[in-house]
């Protein structure tokens, strides 16, 4: 009884890809909440905004509307969708990960499959937002001069650039969400406390350093000189770091309750 | 099936009882191991062990690809074996209990003669 049963190892490259794709499929099995619901919420916000724009227009005229339109850019009406996707990524790691492991998935395949989905979803939502952004511009703010699908700093005339910017911002939120979820899976609420405390200290520290060295001007300059696309590309640095950190964390994680 | 005694021994005894009672006549097919397992809600390997016990004893025999059959003469063999055990299994405990109650062997014998089997007419 010293021999152990060996199963045929069929670990070809195509096989591995199939496993990763299967994890990706698992993530989008419950389609509605992932692919449809965000647009519905956006639609409700949009309808509410339309009503407000109409009120402003009737009450105060076109001039007031164009001023209000500028203000709208800062309202971040559409930015909830980014936060929504971060929550999606947190849940993917927190809830889908233990489920996938029960189905015999490796952590590596899970992470690669999840990443595939994050990239795909980023493209999907970036495409949608770019389209709405284009319609908004083409119709002069839905005929009312309203601006909802334009994020103040990141607005651009070039559709491809616009898409790329949205895409990179989505990627950032997905992978930061995945890394955060991994911290939670590894160390639960204690990990969260330490994580957010550390993040808070880091941000306050950075702000303090910038203030003390009187470098806020330089920071502003950096944003101007890099331009929206440049900044979005720089966002890849924290995105990639989060992705790598998330992978390292999850590789040693055990789902617990 | 009761707990506390090997299940496969109990299964073998039950099959023997069925052969004794005529429920499983000689040269008829007995249920498969899996059928025994499902019926008694026991592990198929355990059921297999019980059946094999009877195969080894020559009570049952295998027909390749068909199944398990009751061997000719197996009823007589079971009767013979059970008779050999009758004293240990039934008479001795009976006498132990009788002694506790102060009944002599003669009194027990008399009781046996006058007692009619439940449900029988003699």
């Amino acid at each position: 009884m010293t021999t152990t049963i060996q199963l045929p190892t069929r670990s070809s490259g195509g096989d591995e890809l199939q496993r990763i794709v299967n994890v990706a499929k698992l993530h989008i099995t419950a389609r509605f909440a992932l692919l449809v619901l965000p647009w519905l919420i956006l639609a409700i916000i949009f309808v509410a905004n339309l009503a407000i724009w109409m009120l402003i227009r009737t009450a105060a005229g076109d001039e007031a509307m164009s001023e209000a339109g500028e203000g709208m850019q800062f309202s971040g009406a559409s930015s909830f969708i980014f936060v929504y996707m971060m929550v999606v990524a947190v849940q993917a790691v927190n809830a889908t990960f233990p489920f996938a492991l029960g189905f015999g998935v490796t952590r590596r395949d899970f992470y690669l499959g999840s990443s595939l989905v994050f990239v795909g979803l980023s493209a999907y939502f970036a495409a949608g937002l770019t389209f709405l952004n284009w319609v908004e511009r083409s119709t002069n703010g839905w005929g009312l001069g309203g601006r909802m699908f334009d994020v103040v700093y990141f607005s651009t005339e070039n559709l491809l650039t616009q898409f790329l910017q949205f895409f990179l911002v989505f990627l950032f939120f997905f992978f930061v969400g995945a890394a955060t979820g991994s911290v939670y899976v590894r160390w639960k609420s204690f990990g969260m406390i330490v994580f957010f405390a550390a993040l808070g200290f880091a941000l306050i520290g950075a702000a303090a350093v910038i203030t003390l060295t009187e470098s806020w001007g330089a920071v502003g300059e950096w944003f101007v000189s890099n331009g929206p696309l440049g900044v979005a590309l720089w966002l890849l640095v924290p995105t990639v770091l989060s992705a790598l950190a998330g992978f390292q964390l999850l590789r040693r994680a055990t789902p617990r309750n | 099936m009761e707990e506390g005694r090997p299940i496969f021994v109990q299964l073998a005894e039950q099959i023997e009882n069925d052969i004794l009672s005529g429920a499983l006549p000689e040269e008829t097919q007995v249920p498969s191991t899996n059928e025994f397992a499902a019926f008694h809600r026991i592990n198929p390997a355990t059921a297999g062990k019980g059946v094999n016990l009877l195969v080894d004893a020559g009570i049952l025999y295998k027909k390749r690809g068909i199944g398990m059959f009751v061997a000719t003469g197996s009823r007589d063999r079971i009767v013979r074996q059970r008779r050999e055990r009758f004293e240990i299994d039934y008479v001795q405990p009976l006498l132990v209990e009788a002694t506790k109650l102060g009944l002599t062997h003669d009194e027990v014998a008399a009781l046996i003669r006058t007692t009619t089997m439940e449900g029988s007419t003699s």
């Binding site: 009884m1 021999t3 152990t4 049963i5 060996q6 199963l7 190892t9 069929r10 670990s11 496993r19 299967n22 499929k25 698992l26 993530h27 099995t29 419950a30 509605f32 909440a33 992932l34 849940q91 993917a92 927190n94 809830a95 889908t96 233990p98 489920f99 492991l101 029960g102 189905f103 015999g104 998935v105 490796t106 952590r107 590596r108 040693r252 055990t254 309750n257 | 009761e2 707990e3 506390g4 005694r5 090997p6 299940i7 496969f8 191991t33 899996n34 397992a37 499902a38 008694h40 809600r41 026991i42 592990n43 198929p44 390997a45 355990t46 062990k49 240990i88 001795q92 405990p93 132990v96």
Partner: protein
Amino acid sequence: MSPVVQVSGLSKHFGSVRAVEDASFSLEQNKITGLLGRNGAGKSTLMNLLTGQEFATRGDIKVFGASPVENASVLRNICFIKESQRYPEDFYVKHVFKSAPWFFENWDAEFAEQLIDEFRLPTARRIKKLSRGQLSAVGIIVGLASRAPLTFFDEPYLGLDAVARQLFYDRLLEDYSEHPRTVVLSTHLIDEVSMLLEHVLLIDDGRIVIDEDAETLRNTATTVVGTRSAVEAFVAGREILHRDGIGGLASVTIGGLDDSERAAASAAGLELTPVSLQQLIIRKTGTTTREFEQSA
């Protein structure tokens, strides 16, 4: 038969807690093994280790000849049904059965359908809205219909009534008969499942204390009841598993007896009562029946 799982010197410590301590055993192919033990004895940790979900502190695990940790060619043959399984957010029951075939190549959709009917599982309901018993049924159906060569059930029946539990046992036996595979069933309802088991692993306080064929185990203990003096005379020199008594009566559990010993016992006016697997395990783990049954 060859082993599917081989474990040697396996330990898992959480800080100062020794959840699994120096465990060595193997699981043979196509057997149903009962992993028994009290709550917190280390059953779940052991299964987490065998399925590569937990990382060992020490020792060696071979599943299908290799370490299960991050090993896709091993893990693809494993299905692990946990008592407290988490499901993806927003999952409906139907999503579980839609996605399962992507991960289990032996998945039998027809069988799954049959079980969904039999367990009366509402497939159009959100997982979060299911009752405890319905949630258990989801796990049981996945575990059975996946037909994974190595299937783990960790206390899979919480919240299921007696009828549904019997249904699980019946379907497990039937399907196992037709499609033999290696099954590990962790449970504290020993009386209910003992007849399904071919092999028994008993874990107590992180250590494997019994690793034995279930049928052999059934023969390993007898309780001798009678007057104190007669019982004591009979059990003198034997290993005593448990001792109980009231007034002049004694009840002592000892190892198995052969025919002549049984005859001697009855000649001495002693009564012999069989010891069930559950009683035996309670004796071995030094608990009372009530404690054991409550350790769910």
